[in-house]
C-alpha cells in the first residue's frame, strides 16, 4: 500500500475511532459496570437479593408470581426470606419450600438445602442434611406405607429415619402434595425469583431492553472490536513512521 493511502486510511480510522468510541461509550459503561458486579456476585450477595422496584421488574411481569405454599386446612405453610412460616408465624429456617408430606405423626418439609421434620404441632423435630442421602435434589415427597418416599430423578426411595438410609421403592400410589399459589391476603406479589444477578445479566447482555437491546449490545461489541483493531492499526502505523 502506498504511503499516502496509508496516511489517508490512518486519518480516516482516527476520525472514526473517536466517533465510534463516543457512540459505544454508553453501552460500554453499562456493560462494564454490570460485568464488574457480576464478577463479584458472591461477595456482594446480589445473587440472593431480589429487587422489588416495579420499574426494574418491568420486563419480568410474566415470570413474577405470588409465593407458593402448602394448604394445611385453613392454614398455609410457606417460606419467605429464608424462614418457614405457618401463615404469618415464623417456625424455623427454610431457604425455600420445595416439597411437603404429612406422615402419621410428623411432617416432612423439603427446604432445598435442608430437610425438616416437624411434629404435628409444627414444632421442629429434626434437621436432616440432604447430602447425606443423595447428591441430587428431591423432586417429590409422599407418605406411604409408614415411610416418607422421595423421588430423586426418575426413581423412588423410602427414607428410613432410624438408619438414615434410602432404599429403592416402587412409585407410590399417592401423589405429592402440590404447592399452590398463596391467597392474596397472605402474601402480595413479592419478587422472590428474579435476583439482582438475573437483572444484571440481562442488563449486561441487553436482554433487559428486549430484542433491540440485544442487537444494540451486539453493535456495541462490534464497535469495540473495531476500536481495538483501528487503535492497534493507528498505533503500529505511527511507530513504523507512515
Amino acid at each position: 500500500m502506498k504511503t499516502s493511502t496509508r496516511r489517508q486510511l490512518r486519518f480516516w480510522l482516527h476520525k472514526w475511532h473517536r466517533r465510534a468510541g463516543l457512540l459505544a461509550a454508553l453501552i460500554v459503561i453499562l456493560v462494564t459496570l454490570t460485568g464488574l458486579l457480576l464478577n463479584h456476585i458472591a461477595a456482594t450477595g446480589l445473587d440472593r437479593l431480589y429487587p422489588q422496584n416495579s420499574l426494574i421488574l418491568t420486563p419480568y411481569q410474566q415470570a413474577l408470581s405470588r409465593p407458593l405454599g402448602v394448604a394445611l386446612g385453613e392454614h398455609w405453610l410457606w417460606s419467605r426470606d429464608g424462614q418457614l412460616q405457618l401463615d404469618q408465624q415464623i417456625l424455623t429456617d427454610c431457604r425455600q419450600l420445595q416439597g411437603y408430606a404429612r406422615g402419621r405423626d410428623s411432617q416432612f418439609v423439603d427446604c432445598s438445602s435442608q430437610w425438616l421434620l416437624l411434629d404435628s404441632n409444627n414444632q421442629l423435630l429434626e434437621v436432616l442434611e440432604p447430602s447425606l442421602f443423595s447428591e441430587e435434589p428431591v423432586t417429590a415427597v409422599v407418605w406411604q406405607g409408614d415411610a416418607y418416599q422421595l423421588q430423586i430423578g426418575q426413581d423412588w426411595f423410602a427414607l428410613d429415619l432410624l438408619s438414615y438410609q434410602l432404599t429403592a421403592a416402587a412409585a407410590p400410589a399417592a401423589s405429592a402434595e402440590p404447592l399452590q399459589v398463596l391467597p392474596p391476603q397472605l402474601a402480595s406479589a413479592r419478587n422472590e425469583s428474579i435476583s439482582w444477578q438475573r437483572v444484571l445479566l440481562d442488563l449486561h447482555s441487553g436482554r433487559w431492553f428486549g430484542t433491540w437491546g440485544v442487537w444494540l449490545v451486539d453493535v456495541a461489541a462490534l464497535i469495540l472490536l473495531f476500536l481495538a483493531l483501528s487503535g492497534a492499526w493507528i498505533w503500529f502505523s505511527r511507530k513504523r513512521g507512515f
Binding site: A42, G45, T92, D93, S113, Q114, D119, Q123, L124, L125, E126, V127, E129, S131, L132, E135, L162, S163, Y164
Partner: protein, 176 residues
Amino acid sequence: MRLLRVLLPLILLLSSAVALGKGTYLTLPQLLNDWFPAGQEARTLWLSTEQKDLAREHIRYDLRQARVKYWAHNGKNLWVLSEIGKEKPITFAVLTHNGVLERIEVMVFREIRGDEIRLPAFTAQFAQLKLTGNGELSGNIDGISGATYSVRSMEKVAKLALLLDRWAATPDENLH
C-alpha cells in the same frame, strides 16, 4: 514475551480465585465403615428446652430442633452436624468418646474458599480436646488466614458435639 510476563501472573491470580474446595469429601456410609468397622447403632438424643437454653448460654449455639441423630458403638459417638461458614453450611463429622473429641472431618464443603480446614494438619489440632467449664475448647486452635469463618464453624461444631456427647452419656442431667 513481555505480554506473557504480564498475562501469566494475571491468569494465575484469577485461577486461584476459582472455587476448588467445594465438594463432598466423605459420605455417611464411608464414615460408618471407617470409624465403626465393628458396626454401630443409630440413636436419637432428645433435647429438652433446658438443654437448648444451656447450649445457647454455654456455647452460644442456637439449637432449634427437638432431637439429634447420632451413631454409637463402645462409648464412641459420631455426630453429623452442619454449620454456616461464611455463607453456606459446612457439614462436619465429629467422633467423641467420654467427653473427648477424637476426630473431626469435613464431610461436605460448599463455600468458595476456606476449605483448608479439612486438611489433616488442621483437624489434628482438635484431637483430644474437651469442653471446659466456661464453654470453650480445652486447647488453642491456630487459625488459617482466609478461612476465618470456616475455622469458627469447625470450633462451634466441635463444642456442640462435645456438649451433645455429655448429654448422650447422661441424658437426664444438665451441665449445672
